[in-house]
Subunit: 341 residues, 2 copies
DNA sequence: AACGTCCGCTAAACTGATTTAGCAGAGCAT
DNA sequence: ATGCTCTGCTAAATCAGTTTAGCGGACGTT
């Protein structure tokens, strides 16, 4: 790859100057006393030869590669997480950096291998990303340089970027209160494990807290709490069916994520109930499916692109060790309406 | 990153040998005459120091970086295409390579920039991937080394990896024929543009051909052909509604992709019709949503992981210039049944 | 005239590996 | 004793950049 590329020596020769001079000119070094003509000749020569510096050679001396490692447990392959990568890619490009990507697949040996492979390539920093927002243990090898956690926290208080799930909980609850729902708001997707274990999820607890705080501030409480063993459509379906067997029907349902909401829609459809006329539905994530449902699902969007961006910005531009919370904007779609009577 | 790593010189010193000796031992060079004791001492020293070679330094000399560029139009961020990356990542790891990822976002300037950034880093080869299976123009800069097209072909007949859409068409049609459907099979998702312009899609034409060939071989023809301006749920919904207004109802529907099928399910649900009791549905892609639908959607799966793998294998292990067609296995789910009388 | 200073530039060292060319000593034949 | 080959190893060049140290000449000062 890249045979017969012009080297700096070629440029210098063509410009009739030394490699030193050429290097300094091309790097725009201040305080050098090279003449304007010398500058011109170097630029002209570089242009003529289509010169591009060899990053390997440069990094050997400078120990900078303009390359960032993006290591994730499994994030690269999931529907959501493309956004994390895309944001990171974008921000990296703006700073003339590129991304080396690796996946650990949740396996410690893979992880070790992947991180070493990145360090061997002298990456300037590491972004360590998780698929589900959670706390995790950072492998020690990574500590040899700058790190930012993405969608995760660690006991060591490394800089990290997280979605602001608690505020999203408030947003979602407020959206319902504003429409006039109050005493018949149900919640689908309670889950002891997710709420308790930070290593499993940070989102569940935060979303729940945001919802509950907002409701109690308005003098309301949840009308019903449905627990689900996981957050998949089938669980949302079962949960909604359960809710519909009760004597009083909820006027609105908050689902802990869009997949649950999808299941809930299915159950409502089968029961012949309409969203939002009979029941309003609101949710979290903004999975692509939220736009495909009929009517569109109102949901607090996981700002994956923004998060990916911020991670790179913090890594490269420096920034707080404080966790960075990225807001989750509410996508207002037609699944919310005022309750009927 | 990676401060105070041991260098080859450190290893050599500790082993009491020259850098040359250490290098040869660690690279397992044949035909060298270094003693068994020398081997031992070098290995011991490397182990003790935790030596790992500096890839930049090595590649400066050898012009190999064990790094592959994965350049895509927009593939990295879409729900599907994670599989392409994951497969490539896996195959690369097996061969001790890593992936540099870039996205062109369909913009020629970005593309130019991205490819140059990769070439500057002396990648050993390039995988050029497209989101939608299609023909595309490969930027000239890329030709300076090995390339494999992924999910795409080019006029230059570069080696490429494609899903076998035509065979998938046959598979899908056969699945319906086998159940006893014959004269009332409808197709949703005909699209002149996609079928005609290879730069837009290669899948549409191939799938259609597979379906039609199989049906006519069985002495059948399509009962109805519904055209759609795009392959999104809303189009599938409208198409199915249209079909249901006809005097005779189809016994089975083939959708050109799962999103259309999702829309079709929605229309069926509203019409109070059940899948597969009233109508069988079968489709292409195996989008995650196919498993979430009730009942699960039978569909010919885009083998993204396999495709990603194959691309790396062809790039690194060498292989045919012939297009590689990767089979699309049918995921048998409950959306297909025998027609009711 | 001698000295110092600034200007414009360059030689050479350095980064960490691989690779080429070749050296010293042992053993053997003549 | 001389020459030859083989063994086991090393010095030095090389890759393509960056960076340090410093050189020769013009100019101004005393």
């Amino acid at each position: 790859m890249g045979r017969n590329r012009a080297t700096l020596a070629d440029v210098a020769r063509l410009a009739g100057l030394s490699k030193t001079a050429a290097s300094m000119v091309l790097n725009g070094r201040e305080g050098t006393r090279l003449s304007p003509e010398a500058h011109q000749r170097v630029f002209a020569a570089a242009e003529e030869l289509g010169y591009r510096p060899n990053v390997a050679a440069r990094s050997l001396r400078t120990r900078k590669t303009a390359t960032i490692a993006f290591v994730s447990d499994i994030v690269a392959t999931t529907r959501f997480a493309g956004g994390l990568i895309r944001g990171a890619l974008d921000a990296a490009r703006e700073r003339d950096h590129v991304l080396l990507i690796a996946e650990t697949q949740g396996d410690a040996a893979f992880e070790q291998y992947a991180i070493e492979a990145m360090l061997d390539r002298q990456v300037d920093g590491v972004i360590y990303a998780a698929m589900a927002t959670r706390r995790l243990a950072v492998p020690p090898a990574i500590h040899s340089g700058p790190v930012v956690l993405l969608n995760a926290t660690s006991p060591e208080n490394l800089p990290c970027v997280l979605p602001d799930d608690e505020r999203a909980g408030r947003t979602v609850a407020t959206a319902l209160l504003d429409k006039g729902h109050r005493d018949r708001i149900a919640l689908i997707g309670r889950n002891r494990l997710k709420e308790r274990e930070a290593e499993v999820s940070l989102a569940a607890q935060a979303r729940l807290r945001g919802i509950q705080d907002t409701l109690s501030a308005a003098g309301a409480t949840l009308f019903a709490d449905v627990f689900c063993s996981d957050w998949l459509p089938e669980h949302g379906y079962a949960a909604m069916r359960g809710l519909l067997t009760r004597p009083t029907r909820p006027s609105a349902v908050i689902c802990m994520n869009d997949r649950l909401a999808f299941g809930a829609y299915q159950a409502l459809g089968e029961a012949g109930l309409a969203v939002p006329t009979d029941i309003s539905v609101v949710s979290f994530d903004d999975d692509p499916i939220a736009t495909w449902l009929r009517p569109g699902l109102a949901t607090a969007a996981l700002p994956h692109e923004q998060m990916g961006r911020r991670a790179v910005e913090i890594l490269l531009d420096g920034g707080t060790t404080e966790p960075t919370l990225v807001p989750m904007p509410l996508r207002r779609r037609r699944s919310i309406a005022a309750p009927v009577a």
